[in-house]
Every structure is written in C-alpha cells, then in structure tokens.
C-alpha cells in the first residue's frame, strides 16, 4: 500500500461516537467496516483523539477475533465449523475452498485480494448445516461440489466488475 490512506472516514466515525474511550470496540468495528481491516495508520489517530495509549488500542484489536490487521479480500468466505456443521462434515468444504484458491490455515487471503477464507465457530444457522457465508450472506447445506460452483459464480462477478 503506497498511496496515503484517506482517514476522513475515521474522523467521521470518531465525531459520531462522541470520542469516548468506552466506545473503542464499536469505533474499531465501524472502521473495519469501511476499510475491511484495521490499517495501522489509524492507531496513532485513535490514540490521540481518544486519549488512550496505542498499546491499549492494539491490545483490544488483537484480543477480539473479529478484528483483522491485514487487508481482507473482496469476498470474505466464512466456513462454519460449529458443532452442528462439524458433525455434518464442514471440514471437506473448507479443504476444498482452500485447495481451489491456493490458501491454507496460515494464508487466508489470496494475493489478488479477491478472496479471504476463514472459519467461524458457529453462525447459529445449525438447521442448515453445513453452512458458509460470503460477505455475510448465508449459503446453506454446502458440499464440496457446491463450493466449486460458488467460486465460479463469484469469479464471474469479479470479471464483470472489472
């Protein structure tokens, strides 16, 4: 990332929040919604504006699973590996996604920043197990075959957009 990050959205979020330290988690959530991750440039800004140390903000950002310090893909695919999905075989679905996209447990996002593949512990859609979500849209009763079809559709969408 060479271009300077536009931080105007961060200030807008801070203005809305009333700059209370107590609101740090929701502030980080809103920032992540804008940038899809927490760019490191925002930490000094937050520290200054909220009057709390960068270390403390960083400790919060790393404690909670939902925050990411690395850029995420255009499509964030979350494979549910809750109990219900697990017993209905969610792991082959995850394996298939990773192998199709050349990802692994360590490498979660494709180099072209199109796809991120993660697991979540439970989406609460156990009745439709196994499920995954693409940018929070639930796809029920998945199979490895359906994964291939899904990726194909998403790739076509990307090609269309470009």
């Amino acid at each position: 990332m060479t271009a300077k990050l536009d931080l105007s959205a961060v200030y807008a979020i801070l203005d809305k929040s009333g700059r209370k330290q107590q609101a740090i988690i929701s502030i980080l959530q809103e920032i992540q919604e804008v940038y899809h991750y927490l760019p490191q440039e925002v930490f000094p800004v937050l520290s200054e504006e909220l009057g709390m140390s960068e270390a403390r903000i960083f400790s919060i950002a790393t404690f909670y699973e939902n925050f990411s310090l690395e850029p995420k893909g255009r499509y964030v695919i979350k494979v549910c590996d809750g109990t219900a999905c697990h017993v209905r075989k969610s792991i082959p679905i995850l394996e298939k996604l990773r192998s199709e996209l050349g990802l692994s447990e360590k490498k979660k996002t494709t180099d072209d920043l199109n796809f991120t593949v993660e697991t979540v512990s439970c989406l609460g859609a156990c009745g439709l197990a196994p499920v995954l979500t693409v940018n929070d849209v639930v796809h029920p009763e998945m199979t490895p075959d359906k994964v291939v079809a899904l990726l194909k559709t998403l790739k076509e969408e990307i090609a269309h957009a470009e």
Binding site: A23, I24, Y64, S99, E100, A125, L128, V138
Partner: protein, 624 residues
C-alpha cells in the same frame, strides 16, 4: 408518544381491533435459517402477486381499521428450520413448508383467494398429512412460552406486539406493583437463569436491589457463543420486545436506570431488530425518561461483541462493554455488587428476561404449573446434528431426552443409530443411551456431570467418534481461552495436544490418566467458568466411551470410522467405471486415472475427507 397508563390502554385497544380486523395473515419466516433459504424473495413475490390482484396488502399492522387488508408479515424463527422456508397462513393456522418462489402464485390463488389448502406444501410424515401447524408432531409436543410469538407476529412492529398483550406486564409492574412485589413474584416463580448456571433470578434481583451504590445497571447477555446453540438469537430476532419488556421490569425491580444488551457480532439480524425495537419503544415512551408518565426512567443500549467466546462470562462481558479486553476477573466482588463500571449490575441471559413478562402478567403460580418443582417453566433448546427435525424447540423442564429426540426431533437422520447427545456446548457433556429417560432439568443433569448450559443439543449417531468430538471441543476452548490464567491457557493446550495425538493414531499408554489428571487440575484452579468447565467434554466422553479411547490408543483403530488419520480410502477396481467424478470432487487432487478405466487414490496425498465416497454413484469407494 404515550403519556400515561390510559393512553397505553387506548393504544392497545385500537391495535387489538386492527389486528382482529386483519382476518387473513401471511406470515413468512424471516429467521436466519429461512432467509438463507430465500424467504425474503418469497415475501416480495407474495406482495407483488397480491397487489397485482388488486387486493389490499398491509405490511405489519397499519393504523386504519376501515380497510382490513391481507396482513403480510416477516416473523422471527418458527423453529422448524429443517423444513424452511416456512410460511404460516391465518386464520386457518396452516403451515407451508419448503416453500419456493414458484409456489407463491398457487398460495395466493388457492389459499388467499379461495381459502383452500395447498396440500403439496403441507408437512407430511409416514404418509399422513398435517395441514395445521399445531398438529405437526414437531410442534404438538412442545410448550411454547418464551417462543410463543416467534413465527406468529411481525418482529419489526411494536404495534403488533402490543395488540397481543405486549407491554401489559410493564404496565402492571409500573402501576400495580412496587420493586418488592416484583422481586417477590419472580422469586416465587422459581425462575432460574437460562444461561447455564441456573441461579435463581429472583435472588439475584433481590441482591442488586439491596445495593446502596448507584447508578445500577441491567445487562442482558446475548453473547450466545456455544457452537450449536441459537435459542437466544431466535428470541432476539423473533420477539425482541418481549426481552426488552423483561429488562425494563428488571430495571424497576433493581432500581436501575440503564440497560445494556451485549450481542454477538455474528448475529447482525438480531442487532438490527433490537435496535429497531428500542427505537420504537422510545418513540412510544415505553423507554426513556418518565415512562408512561411515571417517575421511572430507563435507557437501553446495544453493544456488539467482536468475536470472543469468553465474553459470555459475566465479568468478561462487562469489561467488554466498558471498552476493554474481555478478561474475566477474580470474584468476589460479584457482579451484583460490582459489575458494569464497578456498579451493582443485574446480569441475566436473553431467555431469562424473556420469561419475565408472562410471570408478571400471569403470576408465579401459573409459571410453577410448568416444568418440575426445582426447575419450573420451560426451556428452549436448539436441536441439531444427526437428527431429522433440526430446529428450535421449547419444552417444559423435566422433559426426557427420548421425547425430545425421538418424538419432537423425529429420530435419527440417515441410517446411523443414536449414540450420544452433546448438551451444554464446550462446557457441557455427552449423554448416552442410558440417559435417554433422564428428565432434563438443572439438578438432574448436574448429578450426571452434565449441564443444561444455554441449551444446545447436538445429536450424534454411530458415525461420530467421541474422541474426535472431545478434541473438537477442546480445540474450541483452547482457541477461545483468553490467556489470563495459566491453568486454562496452558492446560487446555496440553490436553488438546494429547487428544490430537490420540486421533492421529499416536496415542500412548497413560494418556487417558494424564487427561483426567489435567482435567481435574484445570477445573480446580482456573479463574472463570470457561476454564473450570473446559474439560467437561473430555471427562464425560472418557467416562461414557472409555473403550473408544482405548481402541484409538492401543489398537490404532477408530470404532466409528471417523478419524481421518486412522483410515484409508480405496477404490474397488471391480466396481469403478472410470467416470472421473471422484477425481473432480477431490479437494487435494489425490485421485487419478484414465476415463473408463479404474481410478486410483494416492494415499500420500489423500486427506481422507471422504468427499469422493459421497460422490461415487457406483459405491466403488470405501473406507477400510
């Protein structure tokens, strides 16, 4: 804005009239499950079709008694997720299952216009047809109290909630009772915390009420993190006002003026519906300053979690609301004394609060008419896993597992035999065949080393390996361990390593004893409930399925045939037709061969996921 009691009564009377005038109602399930199945498209299509016929459509409940239209509603979860998307038709009380967009035309023409049932969409079992929702075996054997409105009313409309008696408990609590009376009523009802612990709610309220320090807070734990549980989500999505009403009443009882709802970030729909419900209640003056002209003021906030299971623990949850890392702390002082912002805090779970309005309205004696003596009332369970009817159910406390699994749940899915049911999530235990006739309540389960927990029931059949299940839960707890105390941080890691070795076929003599020893140490020394109960799944599976552990360790064999590293997958050349379907489904490209000749599996590449077995139409691929 309603300024006093009389105005609420008048508002309710008008709403009741409008609700009754809306004779025909179509209620489309808009719970997470059915939305994923396309129910919102069905909703739009129905609206389009009815409008095209020139019939009046009413979304929600309009304030115009002169034009009784056809009520089209988006409700919360109906519970029968397995058969979704679900559409309920009133006044008949019919339930249409597995509805598709293409079915909408027939529904409008047959049912709305002619009043006839589309039998093809009705639920069928063993050749019998069940048109009415209340007749379906899945529903017939339930007692829905907390979930009574879920699937029947529009979850986004406060007017509808009021039309069927909503906020009358608040009215009663505000004007006919005082704090002492409310606490006494809740205490007498015997309501116990539905979040897992089963602590008497009335006693907790009494303790908060007694505190001199102000301000006090009412906090709702909606951080339903147990994998395999979604009761609280369904209540927040399907009947948000019920929970708000319960919290406001708790506010009156405890002398609190502010409420916080902590919801997991994984539940965006619940967050949206709660925020909407709060805005509507504020607009009507049921939340805010001087509620209904009384001197009681109450403000409500929604906080989103950020993906930390430990935040379901009381002190970690309040820390998270305060904008800190979700670390639990040593108790005492307890949450009732020094909770949120170090002030007295009444912290209960979603389902507990949702029970309150009907206790206030109908009295504690009525509530005690359900369930067992020590655990009155009902309990919602999320029924999932290898069972026919997955979904959300509510039964009186004391119902047996057999009734839940075989009568309501319809028995096992597929050919597998019932083996165990996991109850209480990562802090819970596995119950087996011998526990099938055990009445489910707080105390009986405690006696057998299990707990109701939040209410997740994951049913497992003979194809599930109990060692692998234990490993799965330990992996979860290890991931979610916050790292503050050593026993949990290090102990769960060591236990996980041992379990991983065992399922990989590298178990050693003495592993079982070592696991039990670690389990005992962790549960005696960990700081919070998460750590203390982290080893329960392991201990209970060792207790009930020791022979499975032994088979893994000594015979390097997985009796359930589930542990991937302990099995090999082979293609039978006599049966293989060389269609290449398996090689295309293989996630790691381990299968190769020439078309129309038998294929082979490279066992070095094979991860033994089994997807080829499911794909092969000739049944040529087997595990050995």
């Amino acid at each position: 804005m309603l300024n006093n009691r009389e105005e609420l009564i008048a508002y309710r009377a008008a709403a009741e009239k409008d609700y009754a005038a809306q004779e025909k109602k179509i209620i489309v399930c808009a719970g997470t499950g059915c939305v994923a199945g396309g129910s919102l498209k069905i909703f739009e299509r129905l609206k389009e079709l009815i409008e095209a016929k020139g019939l009046p459509v009413e979304l929600g409940l309009a304030e115009d008694p002169h034009s009784p239209g056809i009520g089209l509603k988006k409700s919360g979860c109906h519970g029968f997720c397995e058969m979704g998307p679900l559409v309920r038709l009133e006044p008949q009380g019919w339930l249409y299952t597995k509805v598709k967009v293409e079915d909408c035309e027939e529904i409008v023409e047959q049912t709305i216009e002619k009043g006839e049932c589309v039998d093809r969409l009705a639920y069928k079992r063993d050749g019998e047809i069940y048109r009415e929702q209340s007749e379906i075996p899945f529903y017939r054997q339930q007692t829905r109290m907390v979930l009574e409105h879920c699937g029947k009313i529009d979850a986004d409309t406060i007017r509808e909630y009021i039309a069927i008696g909503g906020y009358s408990a608040l009215e009663k609590a505000l004007f006919d009772m005082d704090a002492d009376k409310i606490v006494a009523e809740v205490s007498d009802s015997g309501l116990r915390g539905r979040g897992g612990g089963g602590f008497p709610a009335g006693r907790k309220w009494e303790q908060v009420k007694r505190q001199k320090e102000t301000p006090k807070y009412v906090v709702c734990n909606g951080d339903e993190g147990d994998p395999g549980a979604f009761m609280d989500r369904s209540i927040m999505e399907g009947d948000p006002h019920r929970m708000l009403e319960g919290m406001i009443i708790a506010g009156i009882a405890c002398g609190a003026s502010e409420g916080y709802i902590y919801v997991r970030a994984e539940y965006p729909l619940a967050v949206r519906r709660l925020k909407n419900a709060i805005a509507q209640a504020e607009e009507l003056g049921l939340l805010g300053d001087n509620i209904l002209g009384s001197d009681f003021s109450f403000h409500m906030h929604v906080n989103c979690g950020a993906g930390a299971f430990v935040c379901g623990e009381g002190s970690a949850l309040t820390a998270s609301i305060e904008g800190k890392r979700g670390f639990p702390r040593v108790k005492p002082p307890r949450t009732v004394e020094q909770g949120l912002f170090d002030k007295p805090t009444c912290l209960n779970n979603v389902e507990t609060y949702a029970n309150v309005p009907s206790i206030i309205t109908n009295g504690s004696g009525w509530f005690r008419g359900f369930g067992s003596e020590k655990s009155p009332g009902t309990k919602a369970f999320a029924l999932t896993g290898n069972i026919k009817n997955t979904g959300l159910i509510e039964v009186p406390m004391g119902t047996t597992l057999r009734e839940i699994i075989f009568d309501i749940g319809g028995g096992m899915r597929g050919s597998g035999e019932f083996k165990a049911v996991q109850i209480g999530g990562p802090s819970g235990a596995c119950l087996t065949k011998e526990h099938l006739d055990l009445p489910l309540d707080f105390d009986t389960l405690k006696k057998v080393g299990a707990m109701i927990g939040s209410g997740g029931l994951v049913v497992m059949d003979s194809n599930s390996c109990m060692v692998e299940v234990a490993r799965f839960f330990m992996n979860f707890t290890q991931n979610e361990s916050c790292g503050k105390c050593v026993p949990c941080r290090e102990g769960t890691k060591r236990m996980l390593e041992i379990l991983e070795r065992i399922v990989a076929g590298e178990g050693q003599d003495g592993d079982i004893e070592l696991l039990l020893e670690l389990a005992e140490t962790i549960s005696a020394t960990a700081l919070c409930g998460l750590g203390k109960s982290a080893s329960s799944p392991v201990v209970s599976t060792i207790k009930n399925f020791r022979e499975e552990y032994e088979a893994h360790i000594y015979d390097k064999r997985c009796p359930a045939g589930a542990c991937q590293k302990l099995k090999q997958i082979v293609i039978d050349p006599a049966l293989c037709k060389g269609c290449s379907k398996c090689s295309r489904s293989c996630p790691v490209s381990a299968i190769s061969g020439k078309i129309k000749e038998p294929f082979t599996i490279d066992l070095n590449k094979c991860i033994r996921c089994g997807s080829c077995i499911d794909t092969c139409v000739f049944k040529a691929i087997k595990e050995v």
